[in-house]
């Protein structure tokens, strides 16, 4: 089977002796929407840097759609579109110049690139700004520009390194819809993000990197199934006293908020029964944190 991305025993030791990757093995299937998570400094950006030729590896092997990056580098590069974490375009070039030039580096003729620029800049709502220098754009527009630029050569594998960092909620949701559509149309997407809600909403499979090692590589569904407990917050009508709840770990956070740990197979009916019996009215209920976030913290703490 040919994978969109196949990484074998990838190691990276920086010149200062820092061991960033300690033998990563990773396979991303064609058409997948894959999340690569990990705390800061875990090795996510180093992995992406090596896959996109921005960082030299120490050892190991990377294949993109079957093209070995050691022996078929140019073919491998042709398959990849990268949206980096930091803005890396010339601030003095216009929006259209940036995307057209980039397409040229992938062998797209100028005529074709101009046509595609209209398509992708319109898609990201930047067509009106095509003659504006990039430095004049807002942060959100700059991020959209980087996505348009990465799509100009119509890559089979799109890699996004924290694409929604610093983007407001409305725009983030627009970008999610756009990326979902792109994935539905066949583009394999690999995403690193700090917004775990983003990974849970978009991705089918997930890998967690911790201290240069892949500690999880599974489907989002089976990862979330590992979650044994969920913490819920109940906003209750204050009685000033801590309710007695049998069978549940609970804690009164303040006069009106109760934190309760609910086991996976435990259910919440019994919890509500007990509260009703004690005459406590529940006003609202919410998760303490995102489910994935809880699991992520648990997994990374375990291996710390």
């Amino acid at each position: 089977m040919t994978y969109a991305l196949e990484i074998n025993d990838l190691k990276k030791v920086y010149s200062g002796g820092v061991e960033a990757l300690r033998g990563i093995d990773l396979k991303v299937e064609e058409g997948d929407f894959y999340a690569l998570l990990g705390p800061n400094g875990a090795g996510k950006s180093t992995t992406i840097g090596i896959v996109t030729s921005l960082i030299n590896k120490t050892s190991g092997n990377v294949k993109v759609f079957g093209y070995d990056m050691d022996t078929q580098l140019m073919q491998a590069k042709l398959q990849i579109g990268l949206v980096p974490q930091e803005f890396n375009f010339s601030p003095f070039e216009t929006v259209q110049q940036i995307v057209v030039n980039q397409a040229g580096y992938y062998g797209v003729s100028r005529k074709e690139a101009l046509e595609r620029s209209e398509k992708y800049l319109k898609q990201s709502d930047l067509w009106e700004k095509k003659n504006v220098q990039a430095r004049m754009l807002s942060g959100g527009m700059k991020r959209r520009l980087m996505i348009s630029r990465a799509l100009m050569h119509e890559p089979s594998l799109l890699i996004l390194d924290e694409p929604t960092a610093g983007v407001d909620i409305e725009l983030r949701r627009e970008m999610w819809t756009f990326l979902k559509e792109l994935n539905d149309n066949g583009t394999t997407i690999i995403l690193t993000t700090h917004y775990l809600e983003e990974a849970e909403m978009l991705c089918r499979n997930i890998g967690i990197i911790q201290k240069g090692q892949l500690i999880e590589d599974t489907s989002m569904k089976s990862l979330l199934a590992k979650l044994q407990f969920e913490t819920i917050i109940l906003d209750i009508e204050s009685s000033g006293q801590m309710p007695v709840i049998k069978g549940y770990e609970s804690e009164l956070m303040d006069e009106g908020s109760l934190s309760v740990e609910v086991g996976r197979d435990q259910g919440i009916n019994e919890l509500f029964n007990q509260l009703t019996e004690q005459g406590i009215k529940v006003l609202s209920m919410r998760n303490k944190s995102n489910r994935l976030e809880e699991l992520f913290l648990k997994l990374t703490e375990e291996t710390a």
Partner: protein
């Protein structure tokens, strides 16, 4: 793949050309003003008192040297500052992630240097025509020495851009190395006028060969045999090209 590389080269060359044309007030105007002042002060005012040199008026003698001086500075600074700026702004990554071979990257930047130095060379030549009529001894030698010089100093500028870590590093070499070598390379005098010891020292200055060759193409007078000048230029071009290729390929200053 050849078609892809050709499109990439065209794209990079257009980008580089747009860059120096966009900031023409910084890239094209200063050499024109500087050389005009040289023509007025050294050629016209002081030159009249110097008399002939190599059988030509002093003004005629310095014209090829001044054109070459502008070509050297323009090609060098165009490539060094463009490459370093792209490194500094990180947009060099646009090239590094793309299927663009190192040879194409080198030639893309060299074409930028070549284009700017050609424009500057033409502008300085037009200015010189206001002061002195120009007759060309050999067009082929003029074109050959111009091309070799421009390519050589574009490659030297690229090397500077690769090693540079700050904007200071980009300006240090032109100020402390390039400018002295150019002034001592025979722009304003014939190398044969120097004492024997300094004539030997001058043989280690590559700019002597460029200016001598270009002056031969225009005036037909020469300090160093033309074949030797061309040979030295070729050796420098090949060495610098190989060094740049090796450093970019290894990712020196580009990839960690």
């Amino acid at each position: 793949m050849f078609k892809l590389y050709l499109t990439a080269l065209k794209g990079l060359a257009v980008k580089e050309t747009n860059r120096y044309l966009r900031i023409w007030i910084q890239t094209l105007v200063p050499p024109v003003i500087t050389t005009s002042l040289y023509f007025i002060i050294f050629g016209n005012l002081i030159g009249k008192r110097i008399g002939e040199m190599g059988g030509f008026s002093y003004m005629e003698f310095i014209v090829p040297g001044l054109i070459m001086m502008s070509v050297i500075t323009s090609s060098y600074s165009n490539v060094s500052s463009s490459f370093f700026s792209q490194k500094f702004q990180k947009n060099i990554e646009e090239l590094l992630v793309a299927p663009v071979p190192t040879h194409i990257i080198i030639w893309g930047f060299v074409i930028g240097g070549l284009g700017r130095s050609t424009l500057v060379g033409i502008l300085v030549t037009i200015i010189s025509l206001l002061f002195v009529p120009l007759q060309v001894y050999s067009w082929s030698i003029v074109i050959l020495t111009f091309l070799m010089t421009s390519i050589l100093f574009s490659l030297a500028g690229l090397l500077n851009g690769i090693f540079a870590r700050s904007f200071d590093d980009v300006s240090i070499v032109p100020t402390f190395v390039l400018q002295p070598l150019t002034y001592l390379g025979g722009v304003f005098f014939s190398i044969s006028m120097l004492p024997p010891f300094w004539q030997i020292v001058s043989q280690f200055n590559p700019i002597v060969y460029m200016i001598s060759g270009f002056r031969f193409g225009i005036l037909g007078v020469i300090d160093v045999p033309i074949l030797f000048s061309v040979l030295i230029s070729i050796i420098f071009v090949i060495s610098l090209y190989a060094l740049n290729w090796y450093l970019i390929e290894k990712g020196r200053g580009l990839r960690s």
